[in-house]
């Protein structure tokens, strides 16, 4: 690669449409424009909100491109045009957006990375429910399976994540006044996603995630604490022993199968690994060369989340897992629950039971297949 300085990424993180993410991003843009910075709007979604539209006054916009797909016309960000225009800063709304087929890249976050690599700073917006690692939790709470997700490492790459807060009460007032959506759409939104308890839980998740991002950045930054105190925010309290033995970094191994619940298992294992600052590996054991197609999708999903995925051949699955875990100095194994054995085979053991019996020196986490109460 050339020696271009990578652009800086700033994400305004909210918990629902209408909390004011785009407004805050535009406030930034206006401030930069006043300071004489060369800033353009790369993509902006007005949603017909007047106060937000007013904030774009005087800002240059790069024209969108129009694509035809399935007989309909779609407008998308024209990334190549922004690259040609090469501003210092670009405002790009809706980081989690999926482009219509026919675009150069599948996801808007990939477009944004292209801008960053060209040395353009980007200010963007997203909601916490679009984070890959929270997908199951969001579904569990709201009943909505969010399809447009952003891998956590993409958000972790941001130089700044800023939480945009509005209380659920105020948000519902805005919905009722029709500020966020037109009234018909508002009513449907209120009945479903915008239930106050849902909003409150999502808001808490956004607060916790922003705190997590702040903490990660502090951990990565060189320690220069004036008081000489420990740098990790959690440390420093008087308690028996809050840390693992020094030098023993946690290594988490996720056992992949073709089961549909593997996606949940992967997200959960990766999330725990991220929070514990542990290495994260995944393994799939194949008995012979066949039968890999069903698990191929899970493996590529895991790779997209930057998990180190390995394929191991072996006749005895539990033994292969345990041997791999020992060889890789794994401290914690993540597995899905085994299918219960039929009642006429009470003396047999499930894969989980066998791994538990063989790996007596490793922690084993059996991830629940969380369901929603009907």
């Amino acid at each position: 690669m050339s020696g271009v300085r990578r652009g800086r990424l700033k994400i305004y993180l909210g918990y629902a449409a209408g909390v004011g993410k785009t407004y805050r991003a535009l406030e930034d843009a206006q401030l930069l424009r006043q300071q004489g910075v060369d800033i353009v709007i790369g993509y902006f979604e007005p949603h017909g909100r007047q106060d937000t539209i007013a904030k774009t006054a005087g800002l240059e916009s790069v024209a969108r491109q129009t694509l035809t797909y399935g007989g309909a016309q779609f407008q998308e960000m024209d990334t190549e045009a922004i690259l040609r225009r090469k501003p210092a800063v670009a405002l790009v709304d809706e980081f989690a957006h999926t482009n219509v087929p026919g675009c150069e890249r599948v996801k808007r976050w990939e477009d944004v990375r292209a801008l960053l690599e060209a040395g353009i700073d980007v200010i963007t917006t997203m909601n916490v429910q679009h984070l890959e690692s929270l997908n199951d939790q969001v579904w569990h709470i709201t009943g909505v399976r969010v399809r447009e997700t952003v891998p956590d490492w993409v958000v972790d790459e941001a130089d700044e994540v800023v939480f945009v807060d509005l209380t659920p009460g105020a948000l519902r007032n805005r919905l009722e006044r029709g500020v966020v959506y037109g009234t018909e759409k508002a009513r449907r939104a209120m009945e479903n996603f915008f239930v106050e308890t849902n909003l409150t839980a999502l808001r808490e998740m956004a607060m916790r995630h922003t705190a997590h991002e702040v903490e990660e950045k502090l951990a990565a930054a060189p320690a220069a604490h004036p008081t000489g105190a420990a740098t990790a925010p959690a440390a420093g309290e008087n308690s028996p022993s809050g840390t693992e033995p020094a030098g023993r970094k946690e290594r988490i191994l996720i056992c992949l199968t073709g089961s549909p619940s593997s996606a949940m298992l992967i997200r959960r294992g990766k999330r725990v690994a991220d929070y514990l600052q542990a290495d994260c590996l995944a393994i799939h054991v194949v008995r012979n060369a066949e039968g890999r197609e069903d698990v191929e999708r899970h493996m590529s999903f895991a790779r997209n989340l930057r998990i180190d995925v390995r394929i191991v051949e072996g006749e005895d699955i539990p033994r292969a897992i345990v041997e791999f875990a020992h060889g890789e100095r794994v401290t914690q194994i993540f597995m899905g629950r085994s299918t219960p054995l039929p009642w006429w085979k009470p003396f047999r053991e499930t894969v989980v039971q066998q791994v538990v019996r063989h790996a007596l020196d490793v922690q084993i986490t059996i991830v629940a297949e969380r369901r929603r109460p009907a």
């Binding site: 807060d165 009460g169 105020a170 808001r203 705190a211 009470p346 538990v356 629940a368």
Partner: protein
């Protein structure tokens, strides 16, 4: 269920104290509501109906933009027809705040000198006479001079609320009393004035005012504050807000009889048995609690006629759990698995820590407790810990 709780309330000024049962066992709590609790809740609801509504803007440093956001809300409410009056403004006002103040009615604070220090005191009498619908009070953590109506400004706000006046106010995390040890560790000094955390919990609404530390550096005219220190305070403010929101959500669900099995927070339950490898589990539980900023609970199922050695072991483990400030629960039930499952669901547990039942493979017709728990756990993960002898 068959659970009973025997416990003492948690220390501190907890506004929702755990219930006290006879036979105090220090550090052991139970949060099941009883009739008195429900009555208190109803009375609180009634009181709340007559009271003004409180909204708090929470920031992590001065110049983060709290005052602006608060006064801006005051202005927007006035535009929507509410009767808004400003009751207190902090000393130095930025031009954008000044612009907002020019279109709001202000009841000026009264200057008072005491012991060589100058104070600004809210003109309570004037506010009572004026009796607005909404009053905007900046600088919530201010002290009043000795001999004032109330020693601290947040108590003035309480009085306004009691008289049916809604209040918008702003405070920094540095001033939250329960957070000041941590603030002192981060910043090396401790603010003089403070507001109890219970006051935040009482607020109908709390809004976080977040901004990257760089933005503050810009606004301090080149005087670069320590960005690490700011980062740590920022994290503290976000987590405090998350805890307040979590608490309020739980209150809401409880009062509406909604049994939610989910939450935005990681909640870890360590199951102790007399012979479990408690030290490893508790250490790991504490580490997970800290990394996730979650909750650490410890439960054990009471067994009758426990051998003396096992009892000693259990007590030692409970002592360790107490040192770690875990929330300890003593459960009663005929069936270990059912008792643990009920409790875990009720407490919205996300991770359950268990010791391996270290037994070899043999002829057996019944599944052991661990296997039954794994089969039944639908809402939480189970983490099995090795036996020390297994290593």
């Amino acid at each position: 269920m068959g659970r009973t709780g025997k416990g003492a309330p948690k220390k501190g000024s907890d506004p929702f104290p755990a219930l006290v049962y006879p036979g105090n066992v220090p550090g052991i709590t139970d949060r099941r509501p009883n009739p008195e609790d429900l009555l208190r809740r109803v009375q609180a609801d009634e009181r709340r109906e007559r009271r003004g509504r409180l909204k708090v803007f929470l920031g992590y440093a001065s110049r983060v933009g709290k005052s602006y956001r608060m006064f801006d809300e005051g202005r927007r409410r006035k535009q929507r027809g509410q009767d808004v009056v400003v009751g207190a403004v902090q000393g130095a006002v930025t031009p954008d705040v000044q612009e907002i103040l020019s279109c709001l009615e202000v009841v000026p604070t009264l200057p008072e000198k005491h012991g060589g220090a100058e104070y600004r005191v809210i003109d309570m009498a004037a506010l009572f006479r004026r009796h607005p619908g909404v009053c905007v009070i900046d600088g919530l953590a201010y002290f009043n001079p000795p001999g004032s109506r109330n020693p601290e400004r947040w108590q003035d706000v309480e009085e306004l609320l009691d008289r049916g006046i809604s209040v918008l106010t702003a405070v920094n995390v540095q001033h939250i009393r329960e957070k000041q040890d941590e603030v002192e560790r981060i910043a090396g000094k401790r603010p003089f004035d403070s507001v109890p955390q219970a006051f935040l919990l009482e607020a109908e609404e709390i809004e976080v005012v977040d901004a990257p530390p760089e933005a503050l550096i810009d606004r301090t005219d080149g005087v670069a504050p320590d960005s690490r220190r700011l980062g740590e305070l920022r994290e503290l403010a976000l987590l405090l807000a998350a805890d307040v929101v979590d608490r309020q959500l739980q209150e809401y669900l409880d009062s509406h009889g909604i049994a939610a099995r989910w939450g935005a927070q990681e909640r870890i339950l360590v199951c102790l048995t007399p012979r479990s490898n408690a030290r490893d589990m508790l250490k790991s539980g504490l580490r997970n609690k800290r990394r996730f900023h979650g909750a650490l609970l410890v439960a054990y199922v009471e067994q009758s006629a426990l051998p003396a050695e096992d009892r000693r072991n259990l007590d030692a483990n409970l002592g360790l759990a107490r040192e770690m400030e875990a929330e300890i629960h003593r459960l009663q039930g005929d069936d270990f698995v059912d008792t643990i499952l009920d409790f875990a669901r009720e407490q919205r547990i996300t991770q359950l820590f268990l010791g391996h039942s270290n037994r070899g493979r043999g002829l057996r017709l019944r599944r052991n407790a661990t296997e039954r728990l794994i089969d039944a756990a639908e809402d939480f993960d189970i983490r099995l810990f090795p036996h020390p002898e297994g290593k």
